[in-house]
């Protein structure tokens, strides 16, 4: 889709030039050359070459804060995604982080390797090959290896999900053949690899007989819920986020949580919050766990800020500034623990925290916290 078509599809011509997008953008605050408003303006002035060749095209976090506030409802993240597809066709790409390791893993998966990545799940509890409930683990087995050096064990989330599901009498399907959901490829202008990964996952889940797919990763959940149907139509199974699933279990008394003594605050992931609109179930869980020791940060729910980088690309000093500011905001609530709900937020904020020596704060994933609080 060329720039003109993107302008028409997302009705970017409704732009009022008000600048609320740029005023809301966490990147613009620390990188003044980047401005969503200017991107839209350039697109409409048909300055295509300048726009697509600009490094800042890849600086957008696609966090959706601008879209949330735009008075004419221009879906800037999706508009940006389309521009990136166009730029990628011209051979341009973002600066990949971690030496492009994660993109290599995704390309290998798309090419059809036979993975062996479920040993941890068998050790964590009971899993099955076929059944009603499929647990979509996502990329955590790989994160666990790559981010061990910053002290983040992403798989503790996966182990906790299995433990909690088992405790509720559910034996989930966990598969070696599961591939990355394709989120990062899609958002970085590579829809072809996204489609290959998505087709594999849909086929795999259908063949497992599962009617319900549970996600602990917000990106996986949102991609299945929103983008898979756009590209593939009716999926034949339901995507459910783990927090919605578990909140029901807590409500019905199937899962009991003990009340600890710590004070918590909560960081909304962009994909879970602004995109999937899941704000309340994690909060309900935290309330049942900590009562009034759960404290909101100043910027919460739809005003929450991104963890600073996305799609394993373009991590910069700007990302670090966004993260450091967020951590200070968490600390200012008086909470001892910042609760995250996305494996990437946990990784990114932990990375920033490790370089802030004076910051007395713990970062913990909500799922891990639930499993540790089970009675």
């Amino acid at each position: 889709m060329n720039i003109g078509e993107s302008v028409n599809l997302y009705r970017a011509y409704y732009c009022l030039d008000c600048g609320v997008c740029t005023g809301s953008c966490p990147v613009s605050r620390v990188l003044p050359t980047f401005s969503p408003r200017l991107v839209v303006e350039k697109a409409m002035l048909e300055l295509g070459d300048e726009l697509l060749g600009d490094r800042d095209l890849w600086s957008c976090l696609t966090c959706g804060r601008c879209y949330q506030r735009c008075p004419t409802n221009i879906n800037f993240p999706e508009f940006m995604r389309n521009l990136r597809e166009e730029a990628a066709k011209r051979g341009l790409s973002p600066t990949l982080t971690h030496h492009g390791m994660l993109q290599s893993v995704m390309e290998f998966q798309a090419a059809g390797v036979r993975q062996k990545k479920t040993d941890w799940a068998r050790e964590a509890g009971k899993i099955a090959d076929t059944g009603e409930v499929f647990y979509f683990v996502g990329c955590m087995p790989y994160f666990s290896v790559i981010f061990r050096d910053i002290g983040v064990d992403s798989l503790s989330i996966g182990r906790s999900v299995i433990k909690i599901l088992n405790a509720a009498g559910i034996t989930p399907v966990v598969s070696d053949e599961e591939a990355c959901c394709g989120h990062d490829m899609l958002w970085n202008g590579n829809p072809e690899t996204f489609k290959k990964l998505a087709a594999k996952n849909i086929e795999l889940i259908r063949s497992s007989g599962a009617k319900k797919v549970v996600f602990s990763c917000p990106e996986g959940y949102y991609t299945f819920k929103h983008h898979y149907p756009l590209y593939f139509g009716e999926l034949g199974f339901e995507a459910v986020h783990f927090y919605d699933y578990i909140e029901k279990m807590i409500g019905e008394g199937a899962l009991k949580l003990s009340d600890g003594a710590r004070a918590y605050t909560y960081h909304d992931p962009c994909r879970l919050g602004r995109m999937a609109k899941i704000y309340e179930s994690p909060r309900a869980i935290l309330h049942s766990l900590a009562g009034d020791r759960f404290r909101e940060m100043e910027r919460n729910r739809e005003n929450s800020v991104c963890c600073g980088t996305t799609g394993w690309a373009n991590c910069s000093s700007c990302s670090k500034q966004i993260q450091a500011e967020r951590l200070r905001e968490a600390k200012a609530t008086g909470a001892k623990t910042l609760v995250t709900a996305c494996p990437k937020c946990q990784i990114h904020l932990s990375c920033a925290l490790s370089s802030m020596e004076d910051m007395d704060l713990e970062i913990k994933d909500l799922t891990t916290l639930i499993s540790e609080s089970m009675r």
Partner: protein
Amino acid sequence: MVWELMDLLGIDRRRLELQWVSSAEGARFAEIVTSFTGRIMELGKSSLGVAA
């Protein structure tokens, strides 16, 4: 780390070799490369179906 990632991807870890050889050790370099290429020949095509 790469070996661990290869395990998860189901790629034989013997397909990757990491060695330090000083510029003065020509014979050792030749030996390592010969034995590594020999091993790859033995393993044949990878599961990805790309050229061996």
